[in-house]
Symmetry: C2
Amino acid sequence: MDPTDYPHFMEMALREAQLAFEENEVPVGAVVVFENRVIGRGHNRTIALADATAHAEIIALSAAYGHFEDWRLEECYLFSTLEPCVMCSGAAVLSRIKTIVYGASDPKFGGCGSIFTIPTEIKLNHRCEIVRGVCEDEIAALMRLFFQQVRQNKTKVN
Amino acid sequence: MDPTDYPHFMEMALREAQLAFEENEVPVGAVVVFENRVIGRGHNRTIALADATAHAEIIALSAAYGHFEDWRLEECYLFSTLEPCVMCSGAAVLSRIKTIVYGASDPKFGGCGSIFTIPTEIKLNHRCEIVRGVCEDEIAALMRLFFQQVRQNKTKVN
């Protein structure tokens, strides 16, 4: 994929994040792309599903497995608005994702550089390329808006 | 939980691993225990479900969320026959698991000491205690038997 196409797909992930926002979930969205086509999408649904693993990336990967009827997503790109957490970074490696593209960093949970750097770890049997900072400002603005509302409403989100 | 109870629950996880073995999946089993009662169980189903995230631990956690209708498993123990991988270790932390108890170490994917040590990482917002080596010999024997059969059949499992 040409890097000039990254913002286009990140905008699609951002639309998913906006759906999460509307559902009062932490606004994170993700898409899986194969041959420049979206084959999986998802947004964070941890509260709605009462499931700590229902992150945007896991839901998008799940749809992509369904597309291929295979757990190997070898030539696929995972776009996520937020840096994938440790769990999602591990899931991307297990799924043989080619490249992880994300927007904003997550200093609290990030598994792609912030706390651990899982996808490029040489000891694992597969490695994913990491691309950072795509559409970062727009994504960071949405996250800020969400957490401002949470503070105003005193809603506990995690 | 009294540590003398660990082998009892690990035997239940091992029975799940044997189910995976019979289904030609890498034989890993897991149970989630709350107040000395199993509230979730699972075995590895990555091939059957064509889903790289369908690890024993994730399936057992999923059942436990259903039990409480909540993603917080704060007083729960996660027993797994094999050291949880990076993804599953991350999922345990996200789920606020109290203690991870495992049998055999996994030098290829392990996230509880072998490659990363995720559950005790001070920068994460929750930490799980880790207990290692429960029923290790019995579990290691089952794993060896499985991989011997794989080599004989030349089946590709991952």
